[in-house]
């Protein structure tokens, strides 16, 4: 049996939940498929307070924002949310297949919003597959969701915001942070985060990388090495740091498999951190009726993902004919918020990425 759905949102993270809510506000019926046990995406492990403005819940912690969105969705009669529901494929005839709590479901939506988020990047060095080497997000999940101390002594790779924030959270969980190393010549994250961990005595060493990791069954230590201005290792600068955990916070890349599979035109845009679907101003992909929002469309912060979600949800509902007047106002508001979030020096990378995207000529095809 094929279930008919108006709007299917794939991924119940910040972008997906906001997409569902805004589409529902305009009157559309929405189904959300989330592969985890609980919706909320990565918000459920973010104990730090958000920046931005009040509209993006600045000052609240990610976990609080997640809970608020989840409660709103649960109380919304227009939204059905399936958890433990992994979308497997989007077919030529518009049918979406889902593995839902070990059953195979077929869904036929009128519109699809892909909000599948991102995956953590990896680094290549000898010994990088040893147990004890994690993505920074994994360590966050262990300590902030499960309440398990992930390590005794950790070395963090990457001084972007994730590396800095997770280092601080590790300290809050009682873990010793031996140091943060960063291959770039300067710290990438916000100064406020860097200062917090430096004040606690954690060294942040720029122009350093991991040369190798060692250990028998689990990680026992790493060798770090200094880089020259061409990012080449300088022989003789190696240092061994004993540690049971190495955390990689070296960036994220969009989880865009479903976009590829659905036949969306894709582009590699470095500033958006990988291959992303080419989107128009309504966040519609080149496949008519398929939208994308959040990290899958370019790595940015959760606050931007939430606004993009709202924009995509509005666009999809409006294209089904729901509340055109109200949709227009909501779309305008979302666009203005995005511009505001992306203004200033911290938004320069994303602005450059979006500029490149607007120069790609997407050709619309039917779903």
């Amino acid at each position: 049996m094929i279930k008919e759905v108006e709007i299917l949102v794939i991924g119940g993270g910040p972008a997906g939940l906001c997409a569902a809510r805004s589409a529902s506000k305009l009157g559309a019926h929405v189904m959300v498929c989330e592969r985890d046990y609980v919706p909320g995406g990565q918000l459920v492990k973010q104990t730090h307070k958000f920046f931005g403005s009040e509209k993006q819940y600045a000052g609240d912690r990610g976990i609080q924002i997640g809970k608020m969105l989840i409660d709103e969705i649960a109380a919304d009669p227009n939204i059905e949310i399936l958890t433990e529901a992994t979308v497997l494929g989007i077919y030529e005839d518009g049918v979406v297949t889902v593995l839902y709590q070990n059953q195979h479901l077929k869904i036929h939506p009128k519109k699809i919003i892909i909000t599948t988020g991102a995956a953590e990047k990896f680094l290549s060095f000898p010994g990088n597959d040893l147990p004890g080497i994690y993505g920074a997000g994994a360590v966050q999940t262990l300590m902030n969701v499960a309440g398990v101390k992930p390590a005794e002594r950790v070395v963090m790779v990457g001084a972007g915001n994730i590396g800095l924030i997770v280092s601080y959270q590790l300290m809050q969980a009682g873990v010793e942070v031996a140091g943060v190393i960063e291959a770039a010549p300067k710290i990438g994250g916000y100064l406020v985060h860097a200062s917090k961990i430096r004040r606690a005595g954690v060294p942040i060493r720029t122009s350093y990388t991991v040369k190798e990791a060692f250990g028998t069954d689990c990680l026992e230590g790493v060798v770090i090495c200094r880089l020259d201005e061409k990012w080449q290792m300088i022989p003789g600068t190696e240092e061994t740091i004993p540690c049971d955990t190495l955390c990689l916070a070296v960036g994220l890349t969009p989880l865009a498999e479903l976009c590829w599979q659905a036949g969306c035109q894709m582009a590699f845009i470095r500033e958006l951190s990988g291959h992303v679907p080419i989107l128009d101003e309504n966040l519609e992909t080149t496949v008519s009726g398929i939208y994308a929002a959040g990290d899958v469309a370019g790595i940015e912060e959760a606050s931007a993902a939430m606004v993009e979600g709202r924009l995509a949800g509005c666009s999809a509902a409006a294209s089904l004919g729901y509340s055109p007047q109200e949709a227009k106002i909501m779309l305008q508001a979302a666009r203005e918020e995005l511009n505001e979030l992306r203004s200033g020096p911290t938004g320069s990378k994303i602005r450059a990425g979006l500029q490149k995207m607007s120069e790609k000529k997407g050709v619309k095809t039917a779903c």
Binding site: I63, G135, L142, A146, K149
Partner: protein, 103 residues
């Protein structure tokens, strides 16, 4: 080890149960994943790679990367980072690629 005191978070872990890991009893909570319970018990090596037999552990913890495959209740290639603890379940280190048994 479990975090008992945290400046921001409180952990409501639910019911404590026992399951089997490589034949030995391990405690866990029904609200958490097998990966979390094994980590809390100090078990970080989850298996070996199928060809070079190198030790394998958790990497992404959100069901993306396939590094944490184990055999659970006889079923191979289970992502234990997104599979919850159930009382009495058997969790085993997987040898090789595992075999699927059809009923």
């Amino acid at each position: 080890m479990r975090i008992e005191q945290h400046p921001v978070l409180q952990f409501d872990r639910g019911e404590k149960v026992t399951f089997s890991y490589n034949g030995q009893d391990v405690e866990g909570y029904t609200t958490e994943t097998i990966a979390a319970a094994l980590h809390a018990a100090g078990i970080r090596k989850l298996g070996t790679s199928p060809e070079l037999h190198r030790p394998r552990g958790l990497f992404c913890a959100i069901g993306n990367c396939s590094s944490c495959f184990m055999t659970v209740n006889g079923e191979p290639n289970v992502r234990i980072c997104v599979t919850r603890v159930e009382p009495g379940m058997t969790v085993e280190e997987q040898i090789g690629k595992g075999e699927i048994h059809y009923d």
